[in-house]
C-alpha cells in the first residue's frame, strides 16, 4: 500500500531520493549547459578561425584561378594578334567569349598608358583613363595583379594581366562580381555564412552579397566599423570581419556562425539528457518506492500483526519474505506473539480456572451463568444452579492439613465432573464450595442430579491411605422461578444450601422463606458485629441445683441479643450463622469475659458461684481459647474453679481429636468442662473416656419424656451410671416439673436445670431469685 502522507516513512524516502537526484541532476544540467555554451563559443571561435584560413586560402586560389584564366586568354595568339593590330571588333568578341567561358562579369582592355581600349561594361568608356591604375601599376611590377575593388557601387574581384607580344602591348582586365553567388560558393567550402560589405570613401557600408538573412545583413552593416580584422557578436551570431584590402574603397567579408547552430548538437544532447533525467527520476521514484516498500510493507504487516494481537488474535503468524533483517524481525515478532499468547492463556487460566481442581472458578462460573441465563431467556428453557458445600471439610483440613484437604477437594471435583454432562459447568467457587450449572434442566431434574451428587459424596474418599467421610449439602435454585439473574440465583441457591445444612437434609430446593431467613441472618450478622460494641449482648443465667441438697451449685451463662428493632433474640437466632462466619469466637471471648466478671462480682459479694459458658466447636479450633480463659480469670481475679465450659456432644464429635486435645489444655488451666446435650451426638465411649470433662449434661429430649417413657428412663439411668463410673457429675437439662425432678433424684442424677428450677435470668433477677429461694429454704428448713 502506498502511503502518501508526509509523515510516512515511504514518502520520506521517496521525497529524499527524488530531491537528491533532482538537485544533483539539476546542477549537472546547469553545469553541462554552461560547458556547452563555452564549448559552443570555443567551437565557433575555432570554426571562425579555421573558416578564416579557408576563406583566405579560397580567395587566393580564386584569384589565382582567375588570373590564370585571364592569362590563358592574354596569351592566345589570335588575341595577341588582334590586340597588336588594334582589331577592336575581334578584341571585343574575344573578350566577351572568353569572359562568358570563365563567367567573368566585366572585361576590359587597357593600353600601356592606362587608358581603356575597350570595356564590355560600356563601350563609351573607350579612351577614358582606366579607373584602377594601381592595379596596372602592380601588374607592371609583378607581371599580373589581382584585387577586390569597388566600382560604381559594386565590388569586383579583378585580375589584370599583360598582353604580351611577347613584351606587354596592353593590359587585359577581367572582373568578377562579389555577390551572393560568390558568398554561396565560399559558404559551401568554408561551412560558414559569408557576407560581403563595401563602401566608397565616406559612404556607409552596403551589403554586396551574403548567405545570411537581410535583417542580419542590416545589423552587421550597422556594427561594422573600420575594415580591420574584428570579431563581432550580433544577435547570437559570432562574426569575423576580414578586410579585403583596397586602397580607395573598403570591402570586407564577414564570416559568421550562428550560436544556435553551434548549440544545436548540444541542444540535442541536452534534450537527450533531459529525457535521461526524467527517466532516472521516474526510475528513482519507482525504485525508492520499491525499496521503501521493502521497509514499510514489513512495518505495515508488523503493525497489522500487533493490531491483531491487541485484539486478542494470536493465531495468525506474520509472514514476511524480504531482506534478512526483515525476516529476522518477523521471526522475533512471531516468537513474541507466541509468548504473549502463552502468557495470556496462562493468565486466562489463572483468572478463570481454579488451579487446584482445574475447574472453572467463580468468575468463569458467573460468566457462564449469565450467558446461560441470556440463552435460556431467549429459548424459554429452564436452567438450574446447584450450590454445594462439604459438610465436614473444615475438620479434615484442620486435622489432616491443607495438603490432604486439597487432595480431597480434587477428588470431589472429579466425582462432580463425572456426574454432570459436558455441557454443564462445574465450578469451585472457593474453599469447599462448589457450584454446578445445569443447562436446560428444571428443578426436578436438577434435584435428581443433586441426589446423585450427595450419594456420590457419601461414599468415603480415600486419600493417602485414609478413608474420609465428607458429605455435602446442596442448595438448588432454578431459573426462572427462583431468580432471573445470576446474582439472585446464586444467593437463593446459597440460602437453600444453608437450609439443607441446617436441616441436615442433604438437599434443599429454594423457597422464599429460606430467603427471608437467610436475608435476616445476613443482616443480623452485620449488626452482630456492632452489637458487642454497642453493649447489646446480655448474659442470662440459669441456675443448676443439686438434686439431693437442693442448693444452687452453679449457673449456665446464656447469651442474649437485645436487638434494637427485633427485641431480645435467643442464641439460636444468631449463634449458628456466627459459627458459620467464625464470628462466634469474638462472641465467646465476650461471653467468657462477661461471665468471669459476673462470677467475680458474686464472689466478691460473698456468694461464689461457678459460671458455665457455652463454647462452640469453632472455639475448640481456636488455639487462643485457653489464653482467652486465662486472661479473663486474671483480669477479674477469679479462681479457675469458678469458671467452666460447656460443649455439645455433637460439637465434640465433629472434631473429637481436637476436642480431646483442647479440653486437656482447658483442664490444665484449671477450668472445668461439661458435655452438653449428651445423648444426641452419637459419641463413642472411646472418645468420652479421653475427654477431660467434669460433667455430663443429659439432653432435654430424654428428660422431657422421662416420666412417661420407660426407654428414656433406661437411657438416663444407664447414662447416669456410665457418668458416675467415669467419675463425672450428671446434670439433667430441661427439667420442667417436680415429678421429673423427683424421678431424677431417684435415678441418682446429681443436678438439674430447667424451668422447674428457674428460667434463665439476668444477673439482678437471678440475685433476687436466689435470695428469695434462700429465704424460703431457710424458712422451710426452719
Amino acid at each position: 500500500m502506498l502511503r502518501l502522507g508526509v509523515q510516512s516513512l515511504q514518502s520520506r524516502i521517496v521525497v529524499f531520493f527524488l530531491a537528491l537526484l533532482t538537485l544533483v541532476q539539476g546542477v549537472a544540467l546547469v553545469l553541462l549547459q554552461k560547458a556547452n555554451e563555452r564549448n559552443a563559443r570555443a567551437h565557433i571561435r575555432q570554426e571562425l578561425a579555421v573558416g578564416e584560413r579557408i576563406f583566405r586560402r579560397l580567395s587566393e586560389q580564386n584569384a589565382a584561378r582567375l588570373t590564370q584564366a585571364v592569362e590563358v586568354l592574354s596569351l592566345d595568339f589570335a588575341f595577341r594578334q588582334a590586340v597588336a593590330t588594334r582589331d577592336l571588333p575581334t578584341i571585343q568578341s574575344v573578350l566577351l567569349n572568353h569572359g562568358a567561358r570563365i563567367q567573368a562579369d566585366r572585361m576590359a582592355l587597357v593600353s600601356l598608358d592606362r587608358r581603356l581600349i575597350t570595356d564590355t561594361a560600356d563601350p563609351q568608356n573607350a579612351g577614358r583613363p582606366f579607373p584602377l591604375p594601381e592595379l596596372v601599376q602592380a601588374a607592371e611590377r609583378n607581371g599580373r595583379a589581382t584585387g577586390i575593388v569597388m566600382h560604381a557601387g559594386r565590388a569586383y574581384q579583378v585580375a589584370v594581366v599583360p598582353v604580351l607580344a611577347p613584351t606587354p602591348i596592353a593590359w587585359v582586365m577581367f572582373g568578377f562580381l562579389v555577390d551572393d553567388r560568390l558568398a554561396r560558393d565560399l559558404r559551401t567550402l568554408s561551412a560558414l555564412d559569408v557576407a560581403f560589405f563595401g563602401r566608397a570613401a565616406g559612404e556607409p557600408w552596403t551589403a554586396l552579397g551574403a548567405t545570411v538573412s537581410a535583417s542580419l545583413q542590416d545589423r552587421l552593416a550597422h556594427v561594422l566599423d573600420a575594415p580591420h580584422r574584428t570579431a563581432l557578436e550580433v544577435d547570437e551570431h559570432h562574426a569575423l570581419v576580414i578586410p579585403l584590402a583596397s586602397d580607395q574603397a573598403d570591402v570586407v567579408a564577414v564570416l559568421s556562425s550562428s550560436m544556435e547552430e553551434a548549440m544545436a548538437p548540444f541542444r540535442q544532447l541536452g534534450t537527450l539528457l533531459a529525457v535521461l533525467v526524467a527517466g532516472s527520476l521516474a526510475a528513482c521514484v519507482v525504485g525508492s518506492i520499491f525499496i521503501a516498500r521493502g521497509v514499510t510493507r514489513p512495518l505495515s504487516a508488523l503493525a497489522e500483526m500487533t493490531r491483531r494481537v491487541e485484539q486478542g488474535d494470536y493465531a495468525q503468524p506474520v509472514r514476511l519474505a524480504g531482506p534478512q533483517e526483515v525476516s529476522e524481525l518477523a521471526h522475533r515478532f512471531n516468537v513474541m506473539r507466541e509468548a504473549i499468547a502463552a502468557r495470556e492463556a496462562q493468565v486466562t487460566r489463572l483468572a478463570y480456572r481454579d488451579p487446584l481442581s482445574d475447574l472453572p472458578n467463580r468468575t468463569l462460573f458467573n460468566d457462564r451463568l449469565r450467558v446461560a441465563i441470556e440463552v435460556a431467556k431467549r429459548s424459554g428453557t429452564p436452567l438450574t444452579v446447584l450450590l454445594m458445600d462439604l459438610d465436614r471439610f473444615k475438620n479434615i483440613n484442620d486435622m489432616l492439613g491443607h495438603h490432604i484437604g486439597d487432595l480431597v477437594l480434587q477428588q470431589v471435583a472429579q466425582r462432580l465432573t463425572a456426574l454432570v454432562r459436558k455441557s454443564d459447568t462445574t465450578a469451585r467457587l472457593g474453599g469447599d464450595e462448589f457450584a454446578v450449572l445445569l443447562n436446560s434442566a428444571g428443578v426436578e431434574e436438577a434435584s435428581s442430579v443433586a441426589e446423585k451428587i450427595v450419594a456420590a459424596l457419601e461414599q468415603p474418599i480415600e486419600v493417602s491411605q485414609q478413608t474420609l467421610d465428607v458429605g455435602a449439602s446442596i442448595g438448588v435454585a432454578g431459573f426462572p422461578e427462583h431468580g432471573e439473574d445470576a446474582e439472585t440465583l446464586l444467593r437463593h441457591a446459597d440460602a437453600a444450601m444453608y437450609a439443607a445444612k441446617r436441616a441436615n437434609s442433604g438437599i434443599a430446593v429454594y423457597d422464599a422463606r429460606m430467603h427471608e431467613r437467610r436475608e435476616e441472618e445476613l443482616s443480623l450478622l452485620s449488626e452482630l458485629r456492632q452489637a458487642i460494641d454497642w453493649g447489646e449482648l446480655r448474659l442470662a443465667y440459669q441456675p443448676k441445683v443439686d438434686l439431693s441438697r437442693g442448693d444452687v451449685t452453679g449457673v449456665e451463662a446464656l447469651v442474649r441479643w437485645q436487638h434494637p428493632a427485633k427485641g431480645l433474640l435467643p442464641p439460636d437466632r444468631f449463634i449458628p450463622f456466627a459459627e458459620e462466619t467464625g464470628f462466634v469466637r469474638t462472641i465467646t471471648s465476650w461471653v467468657v469475659d462477661a461471665a468471669a466478671r459476673q462470677a467475680a462480682a458474686w464472689r466478691a459479694a460473698g456468694r461464689p458461684l461457678k459460671v458455665s459458658v457455652n463454647i462452640s466447636v469453632h472455639d475448640l479450633q481456636n488455639p487462643e481459647l485457653v489464653a482467652v480463659l486465662s486472661a479473663a480469670l486474671e483480669r477479674h481475679h477469679l479462681p479457675a474453679e469458678l469458671l467452666a465450659l460447656e460443649i455439645t456432644e455433637s460439637g465434640v464429635m465433629r472434631d473429637a481429636a481436637r476436642a480431646i486435645e483442647m479440653l486437656k489444655r482447658v483442664d490444665a488451666a484449671g477450668v472445668g468442662c461439661a458435655i452438653d446435650d449428651f445423648g444426641t451426638g452419637y459419641s463413642s465411649l472411646a472418645y468420652i473416656k479421653q475427654l477431660k470433662v467434669d460433667e455430663l449434661k443429659i439432653d432435654r429430649s430424654f428428660i422431657r419424656t422421662l416420666v412417661s417413657d420407660p426407654k428414656d428412663r433406661a437411657i438416663v439411668l444407664s447414662t447416669i451410671d456410665l457418668a458416675h463410673n467415669l467419675g463425672l457429675a450428671v446434670v439433667a437439662e430441661g427439667v420442667e416439673d417436680g415429678a421429673t425432678a423427683q424421678l431424677l433424684r431417684e435415678l441418682g442424677c446429681d443436678q438439674m436445670q430447667g424451668y422447674h428450677v428457674s428460667r434463665p435470668l439476668e444477673a439482678a433477677a437471678f440475685e433476687t431469685w436466689a435470695a428469695t429461694r434462700a429465704a424460703s429454704r431457710r424458712s422451710s428448713i426452719s
Binding site: L75, F77, Q81, T85, E140, G143, L164, P166, T167
Partner: protein
C-alpha cells in the same frame, strides 16, 4: 634624367675614327644590350649593303637577345634546339610569323622598315628578342661592360642615339649630335624600366623518362 658626357680623346679630326660608347644606369652600373646608332647628318651612305643576319634559338632563348641590323637585311632564325619554335612579331616595323619549325626555316625574313621589331615565340612565352632595324650602317650593341664600339666612322656630323628594350624614356631623349673627327668616347646614363618577364617553363629533365 639623362646626363650626356662627351669627351674627346683626340682633338684633331681624321678621315675615319672609332667611337666608343659607354652606357650606364643611374647607379653607374654598365648596361648591356643597348644599341648605339650613329646616323650621319648627310644621310646613310648608299655603299652599305644589307647582308644575311641570323638570330639563333638556343636553349629556348633568342641569341642574341638584342640584334641590330641594317634596314633591308634578311634575318634567318636558325633553331638550335630540338624543340620546335614559332617565331613571330607584331611590331609595326615588321609583322612576321614563322610557324613551328625545326632547324632553319626556308626563307630568311627581310626587315625592310627601320624600327624596333620585338620577336617572340608563340610556344615559349618567355622568349623575347629584339631586332633593331637601323637605317644607318653604323651601329653597335653594348657588351657586358656597357661598351659599344662604332668603328671607322667617317669624319662628319652624326646623330647618336641609344636604345634599350627597357628604356624608360622615349628613345628621342637619347639623341645627341656630335662631330666625329677622331676617336671619341661618349657616355650615356639611361634609366631602365624593370623587365617584365614571363617565367620560364621548367626544362624537361632526364632522357625520355616521361
Amino acid at each position: 634624367m639623362m646626363r650626356v658626357l662627351l669627351s674627346f680623346a683626340f682633338a684633331h679630326a681624321a678621315a675615319a675614327a672609332d667611337l666608343e660608347a659607354i652606357v650606364k644606369n643611374p647607379a653607374g652600373a654598365p648596361v648591356a644590350e643597348a644599341v648605339v646608332v650613329a646616323v650621319p647628318d648627310a644621310g646613310a651612305p648608299k655603299t652599305a649593303k644589307p647582308k644575311l643576319e641570323q638570330v639563333e634559338q638556343i636553349d629556348e632563348e633568342f641569341v642574341p637577345r638584342v640584334k641590330a641590323v641594317l634596314v633591308g637585311s634578311p634575318v634567318s632564325f636558325p633553331n638550335r634546339d630540338s624543340v620546335r619554335h614559332h617565331v613571330y612579331s607584331f611590331s609595326p616595323a615588321k609583322h612576321f610569323d614563322l610557324p613551328l619549325y625545326v632547324g632553319t626555316p626556308a626563307k630568311p625574313v627581310i626587315f625592310d622598315t627601320p624600327g624596333i621589331v620585338t620577336i617572340g615565340c608563340n610556344i615559349h612565352d618567355w622568349m623575347v628578342g629584339y631586332i633593331y632595324v637601323s637605317e644607318s650602317p653604323y651601329y653597335a650593341t653594348t657588351d657586358a661592360n656597357g661598351v659599344a664600339r662604332l668603328a671607322a666612322l667617317p669624319a662628319g656630323g652624326y646623330t647618336l642615339r641609344v636604345w634599350h628594350p627597357q628604356l624608360a624614356a622615349p628613345e628621342e631623349t637619347t639623341h645627341r649630335h656630335a662631330e666625329v673627327s677622331g676617336p671619341a668616347r661618349m657616355e650615356w646614363v639611361l634609366s631602365l624600366k624593370p623587365e617584365v618577364r614571363i617565367r620560364r617553363a621548367p626544362a624537361p629533365r632526364g632522357g625520355g623518362r616521361y
